[in-house]
Symmetry: C2
Subunit: 415 residues, 2 copies
């Protein structure tokens, strides 16, 4: 099983290695993502699954059984951030496939369909909006975001269409509540909590959804050599204390409150970005997360106040655009208990925890009882070329998933 998992993950990463110096760059609705999904489809067909692709480009591999029962579904995504790793998303997809392989080899006969779903465009790195495929499937996609542009000026709608889909039809990927019994996602942890608590895997209670702000500083351009220091409205000099404020305030809040919070100025673009011109415009992207929505909004309010203070003291005008502001998602307690029970059965220790990162499951949980399972990754690193999860941990994921699927589909549908 270990070799099989590594080989299939290599196939879906279009590479014969899983860690490489530049990492993997396979953004949402690109040809690279399509190619990875084609590999997923090929593997699923080799396992004897029925493969279909919905209006959003999500691929669904179905272990069909007689009778019209709702399916038990698992899955994740195959897109990556630029220079990301092979495991963020891929681990969940390959473990789902591995669980089906294991159940088939054990001659298990599910009493309801099992699905492995490969969602499209989970990462927000390209368009600033995450989990587009699972939003469409859950019926919560906002059609107005088709005009969002990537850094090359390509709109989301154009990207979707470049891969053979039609933006206006994406909403047709919505599935009815009675099609699925439940959804369970497996993902790498992207942190160190499991290891630090000396446990084997994580079972997630709540998913922190970000507040994301685009904060634009409107200064005044001028010649760097001839504009006296006391007559400037330098947009970058105004942004600097703002960046420091975000980091320092997030650190302080972690000391002051029981729940944890993270806040990052993760993007910054300066214009005209020319050596002899005072920065005229700077846009900083702020990403704030906590499972505690009150704490998250407290931080967002502090950010707004600091922007106001800087605008008043520097004369630099500051606009704040809210890109994302979703409440955190609590996952299903019953499913979580089944995931803990599956570990008990397989002799793995579960750590109950929250997720600082968003995942496709947070959308699926809006409609279907859902769960999220974490396997450890090396040094907690993710969104980084050194991202890595061991074959042993992938195999543990397969064992936990197959145990869960067996329990959830081994009955006559009355469960």
């Amino acid at each position: 099983m270990n070799n099989w998992l590594v080989e299939q993950l290599q196939r879906m990463n279009l590479s014969d290695v899983l860690v490489q110096p530049q990492g993997f760059t396979r953004e949402g609705y690109t040809a690279e993502e399509t190619e990875a999904i084609e590999a997923f489809k090929a593997i699923a067909e080799e396992l004897g699954l029925d493969v279909s692709v919905d209006a959003a480009g999500n691929a669904i591999a179905r272990w069909n059984v007689t009778g019209g029962h709702a399916a038990v579904a698992t899955g994740s995504h195959l897109d990556t951030v630029p220079n990301g790793g092979a495991f963020d998303g891929g681990a969940g997809v390959v473990c789902g496939l591995g669980a089906v392989k294991m159940l088939k080899e054990a001659d298990f006969k599910p009493q309801r369909p099992i699905e492995i779903i490969c969602f499209r465009s989970e990462e927000s790195s390209r368009f600033g909006v995450s989990t587009i495929g699972s939003k469409a499937m859950s019926g919560i996609l906002d059609p107005s975001i088709g005009t969002l542009e990537d850094q090359h000026g390509i709109t989301l709608a154009q990207a979707v269409e470049s891969q053979g889909f039609v933006w206006q039809e994406l909403v047709n990927a919505k599935r009815s509540k009675d099609e699925l019994q439940c959804f369970i996602e497996l993902h790498i942890e992207q942190g160190m909590h499991i290891v630090n608590h000396e446990k084997d895997y994580g079972v997630v209670k709540g998913v922190a959804c970000p507040v994301r702000l685009a904060v634009t500083f409107h200064g005044k351009a001028g010649h760097t050599g001839t504009t006296p220091m006391d007559q400037r409205q330098d947009a970058l000099a105004a942004a600097a204390p703002f960046i420091s404020f975000v980091q320092e305030t997030a650190l302080q809040m972690n000391d002051a409150y029981e729940k944890s919070l993270v806040a990052t100025v993760s993007t910054l673009t300066a214009s005209p970005n020319s050596m002899n011109v005072i920065p005229q415009t700077v846009t900083a992207g702020v990403d704030i997360r906590s499972v505690d929505d009150v704490l998250k909004n407290k931080m967002a309010d502090a950010v707004r106040s600091e922007a106001k203070r800087i605008a008043e003291t520097t004369g630099v005008q500051i606009d704040i655009e809210v890109l994302v502001d979703n409440p955190s998602v609590l996952l299903d307690d019953g499913i979580a208990q089944q995931l803990v029970d599956a570990g008990d059965h397989e002799a793995y220790l579960a750590h109950r925890m929250d997720s600082g990162a968003g995942h496709d499951v947070m959308n699926m949980a809006q409609t279907w009882p859902s769960g999220l399972l974490f396997i450890p990754c090396k040094d907690g690193l993710s969104h980084h070329p050194d991202e890595f999860a061991s074959a042993e941990d992938l195999k543990m994921g397969v064992e936990l998933l197959s145990r869960f699927l067996m329990e959830a589909t081994g009955h006559d549908g009355k469960r």
Copy 2:
């Protein structure tokens, strides 16, 4: 004369307006710059001047006279920063042409040649290196800089070749000392000193040459949602206090010392610049200028110390590359006095001052006695779409230049 100046400046700006919302983008060694220089050549030929182009692409319009005397030259440039103005460079070129027109209409007979030079690629915005054409003409061009790249990865050598010149031959643009008697540049002030001192024009004593540093912060990428605040090496959070330090220290130095100094973090690029990834690498471009080289180096040393302090306290590794470090240039006192005398003659009041910006004259001054004349520009704005100089001030420039040229060439060459 006023209308003629505006019309010719429009021709060289390839536009029928001189102020437009997006300004003018005509970077060095681009087709746009070449087109502007073609307009210059056409106007010079209409004035009856002999036009030639040297190995660096500098255009030289010569009012030739019998005898082998050294020429008196004036000139400036036609390239702009991105979204710059029509006057930075263009004012000096059009006033030189206007002075020739005025002298010809007055039936003046120069006793030695007069040249109007249009230098190539004066701005540093494209390749981080300024005044390439005048460096070549002055014989101080470093051939190794041909490998410098613009933001699209085009090297300086490739850009030069795209406009029909050969990088290895640029050094052949060097002229011998005996070809020119002196050089005088007219430029917009790009500041408010003339107006603040209630004078009409500026005569420059010294030109501040920048120290330019590329400061790179090497942090560690990671997921913004899952990496705890106290376990980060965020390159942008490390750069923020550095940006603040540069501004605050420059402000303090202006209070503490008699000579003025400016320092700007004018460029910043963050990587991977993705909403859900902690910034891994940030490069900040620092531009430090003062006519007082001791003060300038004191600031550069303070910048280095602050980078060292930040590296030690954050764990983010910091590299500093020196892009430019040239001593300031003192201009010729005799020429300056002639420029003051020209104002006396024409009833304009001169303000003796330093230049915070570099200009082509700083290279020409390495070989030939040189002078720099400033005319005011609106609100001191430059490198900005609102950059503007009035037709009256351009005409004043023509009168001052033509008076200077008359005095410098109206004799038999013994002067």
